[in-house]
Amino acid sequence: MPAHRTHLLLVTLLLTLSGLAISLYQTMVLNIPLSPDSTDRIWIIDTNVTYEPREGRPAKVTLNIPDYDESYSLINERFISNNYGTMVTKNNKNRQVAWSIRRPEGFQSLYYRTTIHKNSSYETKTPSDETYAEKFIFTNPLEKLAAESLIEPIRKQSADIETFVSETVKRLNQQDNHNAQLLLDGDHSALHKAVVATRLLSNAHIPVELIHALPLNEASNVQPTVWMRCFDGNRRLYFNPENGVLGLPKNMLPWWRGTASVAQVKGGRNTHITFSVSSQEVSTLQLAQTEESLQGSLYSRFSLYNLPVQTQHVYHILLTVPLGVLVILVLRTFVGISTFGTFTPVLIALAFRETQLGWGIFLFTTVTALGLVVRAYLEHLRLLLLPRLGIVLTFVVIIMTLISLFSHNIGIERGLSVALFPMVILTMTIERISILWEERGANEALTAGAGSLLAAALSYLLMSSETISYVLFTFPGILLIVIAAMIVIGRYSGYRLSELSRFRAFLKEKADAD
């Protein structure tokens, strides 16, 4: 017996853990939301490259595009062009799309549209492919001196990379710092400041790279800004080249690295690049389904959301049935409520889904009561079992039709839903009530009838909950946990609540003795 116990315990544990693991994987890794109402913001960025081609010359447009390896993930990206050959490549710095055409004619316009969303879990991967500028050699002796005299005091004062970089940028931005002014040589653009700072820092053996990031503001013409980025061994640090402040502001999408412009056009002129950003709220669930990284994955192939919508609807209901059965099992095993069979109440509960609870109970009681009257009459005719069942069933259908017609005529549309009651279940319920009634008396028949209705109502409440239906449909692994729960119930050998009353004679006797 202990071996048997251990076995059961193991199976239960295994089922529970697998169920939990599958569901956790779905929520934590695949970002599937726990609630159907949860929404997420996505951004749609259109990059438009326009140029005028040179007559009769082939043209090639190379556009740097984001790598999405950080806090943003790609939902999809589209390359829109007219008769261009498109190729996405990755060089040592950036991901690029190259559009090429042999004979461009007239004004050319190319689009790169990307849809992204911010990852909830911000994880910085260790950059393995970082390519930082080699140590820059100042050839001009004057510049070399200026650089050294700018760096030297910082080296003495700063404790780590963070303060070093920050301080360097700050000094570079001091208007009255002559070393800085000399090095900047009158160019006060952010890009130039970043370039100079990178050179200075490379002399201090701090590898810094330039990064262009796009602020995600909803606008039709968004300008990318320049940032300095270095890696301190744990995480990426971003610095503003204008003031040395650490950290990338919220909603900034790192787009490309290096000093070059975002796009190069060979065989064209008057190149214009505009970024426009828009955003929208979408259901988190939908988002998780469409994420490019999941397309074609094992998960997406086995997700119920891949089924046709009609079938999805069926499974939305079907997957809640085991939970309804669980309710019945609990009621029967722990409470001791008597019902007509285990599954009849669940089927009645399914019918309640369409009729709503109050109407459901009313209609069910009405049809059953009328059916019982007919059944009582048929008893006098002494018919064989099957024809008798057939007559009751036919009568049930007639009652249902009449209820529908009647309620339609007096304008209660709810009454129409009676047609959704499983008539075979109604017929069998009538037959069983009437036999129980005859054999064991009205009391027991009505108790079991009421017990069935109560059980049906409770499982209906559970099965009709939007949240529960969503959770089960989205995380079907929970069904394994339901099985585990059923195993536990299956081995329950304690008293039923009803038995405390059934064996009350024992309690009384004891009390007398005391």
């Binding site: 095993t333 001791g336 002494r382 064989l384 079992l385 099957l386 036999i435 054999e439 064991r440 027991e444 299956g490 081995r491 329950y492 050998s493 304690g494 008293y495 039923r496 609540l497 038995e499 405390l500 059934r502 064996f503 009350r504 004679a505 024992f506 309690l507 009384k508 006797e509 004891k510």
Partner: protein, 312 residues
């Protein structure tokens, strides 16, 4: 409050349905032996083969067309019992005590026509009373005559004795007394009275009626306790021997005492009810455990001796 009730029941050794199912029926009763007790014809044949006396079988009707013979079969019989072969809980049983005015008199005194009896047989065959609604067959057998001793506290029926037997050891017994409420039937849930029986002496104790203790029969007003059941040791012996017969470790044996033939095994039950505990004012648990801890193999006689030595 609930927890206290729970504890008290546990302390008294009361076995609940879940415990009975999980720890006894599932553990000791192998499914393959169920047909031996669910089919009353098989039980009868088996008992006869093992020398256990049962009410003689008059006829076994399996198909509707055989009912044409019913009149012929019944012609020679003055009193008899009609039962479904696979009935449960005493449902579908009709006891005919006599004939009157060309009709049959039921145990409760009302009359029934041959046609009505035939319809009842059709119902039985079509499965109205069988477990799971399967087709069934009709069994017509000897009507057991009550002992005059029992006459005073039974109403329209014959009391029977239910004995719970674990691995062949009888561990608890009760006398089931039909009442007006139970329509002459001896099943507790139909309203019969259960009276505990002292296992050693065969003396009845106070009874239980609808889960409530009762001291007098509600119809006859007779004291229930203090009646000595004749042939008690024979009855216990039959119960003990039923284990080898049907191989069910947890068994309810129903024994009825006929005025002329003495104790007879009426039927076996693989899922005996738990009301016997209320009738005896004693939980089953302690005795069940005492038997479960026995490792020695014993034959029916030795088991009986063990019971008499240990449970009283």
């Amino acid at each position: 409050m609930l927890i206290n009730a729970w504890r008290k029941l546990k302390q008294e050794g009361v076995v609940g349905i879940n415990q009975r199912n999980a720890n006894y029926i599932l553990k000791y009763n192998q499914r393959k032996y169920y047909p031996l007790v669910d089919d009353k014809i098989k039980t009868k044949q088996l008992a006869t083969a093992h020398g256990v006396s049962v009410p003689p079988l008059y006829a076994h009707i399996q198909y509707e067309y055989e009912l044409g013979e019913l009149a012929n079969i019944l012609n020679n019989l003055n009193d008899f019992v009609i039962k479904p072969t696979h009935g449960a809980g005493g449902d579908g049983i009709i006891v005919i005590t006599a004939r009157a005015h060309g009709r049959f008199r039921k145990a409760n005194g009302t009359l029934i026509t041959a046609k009505e009896l035939e319809h009842h047989c059709i119902n039985i065959i079509s499965g109205v009373f069988s477990l799971g609604g399967h087709r069934d067959s009709v069994l017509i057998e000897y009507r057991v005559k009550s002992l005059p001793l029992f006459e005073r506290f039974s109403y329209n029926g014959v009391p029977d004795i239910r004995i719970i037997v674990l691995k062949g050891y009888p561990i608890q017994a009760m006398l089931r007394l039909p009442t007006q409420q139970s329509n002459g039937k001896a099943n507790l849930h139909q309203g019969a009275i259960g009276a505990g029986i002292d296992l050693l002496s065969g003396m009845t104790e106070t009874g239980v009626w609808f889960n409530e203790p009762i001291t007098e029969h509600p119809d006859t007003g007779e004291e229930i306790a203090g009646t000595l059941i004749p042939g008690w040791l024979t009855i216990l012996d039959i119960a003990a021997r039923c284990y080898e017969m049907c191989h069910l470790g947890y068994l309810g044996v129903d024994i009825i005492i006929d005025e002329h033939h003495g104790p007879m095994m009426l039927e076996l039950n693989a899922r005996p009810g738990l009301n016997i505990q209320i009738a005896n004012q004693q939980g089953l648990q302690h005795r069940l455990q005492a038997i479960e801890s026995q490792t020695v193999e014993r034959d029916a006689k030795e088991r009986l001796q063990f019971v008499l030595d240990n449970f009283s």
